[in-house]
């Protein structure tokens, strides 16, 4: 091997040696970098894990058609008229109506109309203006009860169809007709009468989200007999008829 060849081989060896070192140093740098990178990835991964961890289950906001339960607080203008004789004008009257709507179909018609069946309970109380005139009323009943005057209590259950429209947003406009068979008790100064009275209520309401206003008419007539006569052992009394008419304005709450 001549001198030139030896010089060439040495140069080549030196070149190779230097390259390997460079490669080795690159790898180790890369390794550090990759460790750093992996740390970053891990950090990123951890934070992602933190972000994607199952959050506390949030309450699903109720949709327009999800509020099926309702409660109405009513103020009434009510009159009670016997089949024969003067009408009793109401002094104050109030009612609580609790109920539920059962929609007859899942998807609203035309995207905004639904039919339903409403059912629930209806409790109504009314006080009437006292008798006009100079009377010395027998006080046996009022002494027994501790109060006097003219009072009327109806406790009933209702069922009936309703149609609701959701024209925009959370606004729902509803119209309904209900049959309300009720047990009715009327105190008329000197005696207490009771009987079964089938009422009808019909009206409409405008509700935004969970609160609204409504108005309804109420009417019914029934045959009443004396409760004091029955309790006192006097047997059944001669029944007499009364008709009730009322106009209710109410605050409606939907749940």
């Amino acid at each position: 091997m001549n001198r030139t060849t030896r010089l060439f081989l040495c140069a080549a060896a030196a070149f190779l040696a230097l390259s390997g070192t460079a490669l080795a140093s690159d790898g180790s740098t890369r390794g550090a970098k990759s460790r750093t990178d992996s740390l970053d990835v891990q950090t990123v991964t951890d934070s992602t894990v933190m972000q994607t961890a199952p959050a506390k289950p949030r309450k699903r906001t109720k949709g327009v058609w999800d509020r099926k339960k309702f409660m109405n607080l009513s103020y009434s203008l009510q009159t009670l008229a016997p089949y024969y004789g003067n009408e009793c004008q109401g002094r104050v009257a109030a009612a609580i109506v609790n109920g539920r709507s059962i929609y007859l179909h899942k998807k609203p018609i035309a995207g905004m109309l639904k039919f339903s069946i409403d059912f629930g309970s209806d409790i109504n109380y009314a006080q009437y203006l006292p008798l006009e005139g100079d009377y010395n009323l027998d006080s046996e009943v009022s002494d027994m009860l501790g109060f006097s005057g003219r009072h009327h209590l109806d406790v009933g259950l209702f069922i009936g169809p309703a149609v609701s429209v959701n024209p925009v947003g959370k606004l729902v406009i509803t119209g309904y007709f209900r049959f309300v068979p009720s047990y009715s008790v009327v105190m008329m100064d000197t005696d207490i009468y009771h009987g079964f009275t089938p009422y009808f209520t019909y009206g409409g309401e405008i509700v935004w989200n969970w609160v609204g206003l409504g108005i309804e008419g109420r009417s019914g007539s029934g045959s009443y007999s004396s409760l004091t006569s029955l309790i006192g052992g006097g047997g059944t009394s001669m029944p007499s008829g009364y008709s009730t008419q009322a106009l209710r304005m109410y605050l409606c709450f939907r749940f």
Partner: protein, 168 residues
């Protein structure tokens, strides 16, 4: 489920309509009610009062009566006022039995009969209007029943005359 609801609609409608159907008043009953208003005093009473032992059938008390009521001192004398508030006010009684007069009670009317404390007997819950016009009225009380082992058969036909006092 839907079918059940749609079937329930006509059923409920029928129930509602049938329960609300009732003849409340007639022109004749309205006229009778109008004639009832005013002040009345009793002028004649007739009838009978029999009491029988329910077990033995023995008549323990028997009275037949048919007499005019000529003065407020007569035990069957009644002066009363009926008004459109369905209140009957007892103004005078031949036998007040310690009651403070005048005293007012509620009465009921179903077209042909008067009910309430004033128009009831021991067993009967009403008196029937046999005749009525602008000047006079005849009420019938049929009061039959059994109590404490005795059977009571009380029948009374009492005639009233309308006074000139103003009614409510």
């Amino acid at each position: 489920m839907k079918k059940l609801f749609f079937l329930a609609f006509p059923a409920l409608a029928c129930l509602a309509l049938l329960s609300s159907c009732s003849i409340k008043t007639t022109p004749e009953s309205e006229m009778i009610y109008g004639l009832l208003q005013g002040t009345w005093e009793s002028v004649h009473v007739e009838g009978h009062d029999y009491t029988t032992n329910a077990q033995t059938g023995e008549v323990t008390y028997q009275e037949d009566f048919n007499e005019d009521i000529n003065s407020p001192a007569h035990p069957d004398y009644i002066k009363m006022r009926l008004d459109r508030n369905n209140i009957v006010t007892l103004l005078e009684l031949g036998d007040a039995s310690g009651m403070t007069l005048p005293v007012s009670y509620a009465y009921t009317f179903n077209g042909t009969q008067l009910g309430g404390v004033v128009f009831s007997g021991d067993f009967a819950n009403c008196m029937t209007i046999k005749e009525i016009d602008a000047a006079s009225m005849t009420l019938e009380l049929v009061d039959k029943g059994e109590s404490d082992g005795y059977t009571t058969d009380y029948y009374e036909l009492i005639t009233f005359r309308k006074t000139d006092e103003q009614d409510n």
